[in-house]
Subunit: 439 residues, 2 copies
């Protein structure tokens, strides 16, 4: 997957294309890919020099953007269920102290495999040992936006100063095609203003994103207000941190003023509905209000320790239903809007609106082929396809997945790794980590 | 699937068995099936006269019970999304008038196929033309508890009096092994006391269940109270309807008194979280309180018109997360309890606690084999398996499914029908019905 072999041009002929273009057209079309980008979307693509794939039995859908996860936590799925965030974190922190760069890489490979098999082609990660995650991204062919976690030195288990580690990580990976390194302050509970502003300065210097946790639980908001006299968003504004090129994960417990501030400052939000619900945060993130205030909102699965799945299809279904019920409004977050969150809006949040998120000429060829004969896409009527993607389809409906026009999943098999080896390495990592559970 | 061929005895050797027995053991064991029932669950099953299946790579899990659906509505998936119940019903009623027994059968076959591929081995249905559903049950090998919808004669599109139709349907199918016919009052908005009590009398005479919709929306409760001076449960108690052998679907909008009444009368509840949320009913069914009051609660998907999936794995994930968040309590509905709802409790609600719901000697051999190497079951540690089933697994992890010890899904293919024919018949039914959409 290193990118050294040249990929042939391809024409996907007669696919049912979910374009996600400005008109949100769903059309029968040929899609041509040359050198990793779409060069034709419409009738009768030129076929010269291209491999022609009969795509008439498939829906061609933009790759999903998972806007918040910790992919290396894969060995920890099921380790701390049915507990609130405090009990959950007690287990996680005990296990965390045992982590090695090798088991982080094993976890990342398994997590990326699950994401690719679910049609995710880009993800935004927050963790440490991110070089190991970057190697897994490189091997398996996904696109990774990898945030090195920074926090105040007294809280970290990292060797050296986290901000220096983040800067070094960015330096090592800044020229890799599918890896975009960035800096990721963990949250107000472990980051003081020096860490926040240091992260912002690093990101400006390196022109990277900043990714962080924000107002996930009532306790976090309450504790910060008790300590500083300000709620987290108000405080981040006051210290001069907020700005564009930032993605805040969770953003559940916000006042109207904070919502307006995030919109005004151009901060994007990664909505993590399953994780918030499973940890019983008690709130429902104000997605409709954030969008109305001008904030870009995408969808994150969070990690398998709290979700416990990396499926974007499951996540948009759940996110949509929860918004509708919470607002007593069945029209809130329509099927089309849910698909937008998982594609176009995720791409925009990553600063990739020109390159990712839709099937349009000039964009990178990141997409999936869904089998139109799959049970969860029936009846396979074009006018129902977006609804089926939002509310019914499961990952098994995805036959193959492409990143930069290169197949990364074919007939539900990974192109860049052997699943049984990935699984065995994950099991070995889990053996060591589960032994460290408290109690 | 008619049951005429004799099925060989089988030993599933070395499976990881999710027994759902009284101790909820998850153990490596041999499972022997003779004449459709489990005859050995434990080490070293006798192998005489049996086909031996190496099940060491599988989890052997009780078949799921889908406690409320309208399986024949399959052609209507995606026809009325993102609307509240009133707008949803406007479309549904317009289309309903066009339904034929043939398209009901086509829909039922597709719906049953989706359920079997998701590990559902029993379902409770509410519709009309149930003979067509019964034929689909017979062909595909699932176990169907089929409720003929009854309502006051002035509201129905049925030919003849609905209660007479229900009685005749019960008479035609009462001796079929896998079809259990029953009577199903639609709800208080179309059933007066004569219909309710007539249904109860019919069920007592025929020793069948009664299945009905109950307190799904605020409007339904408000309208009934305005008309009768009583909330629905209080009113059903007053007219002498409530009693055991009843399954009420939804049960969202209940007072504490009504919850206590349902428990006291032995009424079971089918919880339909996805459907309630998608139609923005605004409430969250009081599952914890119903169970505390002694009511048996199972899980229903409702139909694909409102869910839009028949996956029980998706449904328990969502049901669990919503209860936790709504109650600000991450311990509410643990993974084990969610699996119980989908198996043991569903079986009890159907009056089948002696025959269905767990892997124990003497019970009917309704079960699935989940691939322990599937991505969504990693890490595949025995102590995490119940968590993975509740929160992570998707339908693709299911390799094969058995009902009465007979394979109904093998290697993700239906044993009792050709998927492409089922799909084509569904598409034809959808062509005719979608043409009848209003507006």
């Amino acid at each position: 997957m290193g990118g050294s072999e040249r990929e042939p041009a391809r024409v996907f002929a007669g696919a049912l294309v979910v374009t996600q273009d400005a008109a949100r057209r769903v059309v029968r079309a040929d899609v041509r890919v040359d050198e990793g980008r779409f060069t034709h979307v419409g009738p009768a693509a030129p076929r010269e020099g291209a491999e022609v794939v009969d795509a008439s039995g498939y829906a061609l859908v933009p790759g999903f953007v998972n806007l918040h996860t910790h992919v290396a936590m894969h060995p920890l799925r099921g380790i701390a269920d049915d507990r609130d965030l405090a009990g959950f974190l007690e287990t996680l922190f005990a296990v965390d102290a045992r982590r090695t760069e090798a088991d982080v890489e094993a976890g990342a490979r398994a997590g990326i495999a699950e994401m690719l098999l679910g049609g995710t082609t880009s993800f935004l990660d927050l963790y440490y040992f991110e070089d190991a995650v970057a190697r897994a991204v490189d091997a398996l062919g996904i696109r990774g936006f990898l945030g090195w976690a920074v926090l105040d030195p007294e809280f970290t288990t990292q060797h050296g100063k986290p901000l220096d580690n983040a800067a070094a990580f960015i330096g090592r990976w800044r020229n890799h095609g599918r890896v975009t390194p960035l800096v990721a302050p963990q949250g107000v509970y472990v980051c003081g203003s020096e860490t926040w502003l240091g992260a912002r300065a690093l990101a400006e210097r390196e022109r990277t994103l900043v990714h962080y946790h924000l107002s996930e639980t009532r306790k976090e908001v309450h504790d910060h207000e008790a300590k500083t006299g300000r709620r987290p968003v108000d405080w981040l504004e006051e210290i001069g941190f907020l700005g564009p090129q930032q993605v805040a994960a969770h953003a559940v417990w916000l006042t109207s003023q904070e919502i307006g501030r995030l919109g005004q400052r151009g901060v994007a939000v990664a909505h993590c509905a399953s994780s918030n619900l499973k940890l019983a945060s008690g709130g429902v993130a104000p997605i409709v209000e954030l969008r109305a205030a001008g904030a870009t909102v995408g969808i994150g699965t969070d990690s398998v320790a709290s979700n416990n799945s990396l499926s974007m299809l499951r996540e948009i279904h759940l996110a949509g239903l929860v918004q509708k019920n919470h607002r007593w409004d069945a029209t809130a977050l329509s099927a089309q809007e849910l698909l937008d969150l998982a594609t176009l809006d995720g791409a925009r949040a990553l600063g990739q609106a020109r390159d990712l998120g839709s099937i349009e000429v000039g964009k990178r060829a990141d997409f999936s082929l869904f089998r139109l004969d799959h049970p969860t896409l029936q009846p396979a009527r074009p006018e129902a396809l977006v609804s089926h993607l939002a509310y019914a389809a499961n990952d098994e409906a995805i036959d193959s997945v492409f990143v930069d026009g290169r197949p990364v999943v074919e007939d539900r098999r990974l192109a860049g790794g052997d699943w049984n080896s990935i699984r065995a390495a994950l099991a070995a990592a889990a053996d060591s980590l589960w032994a460290a559970r408290p109690g």
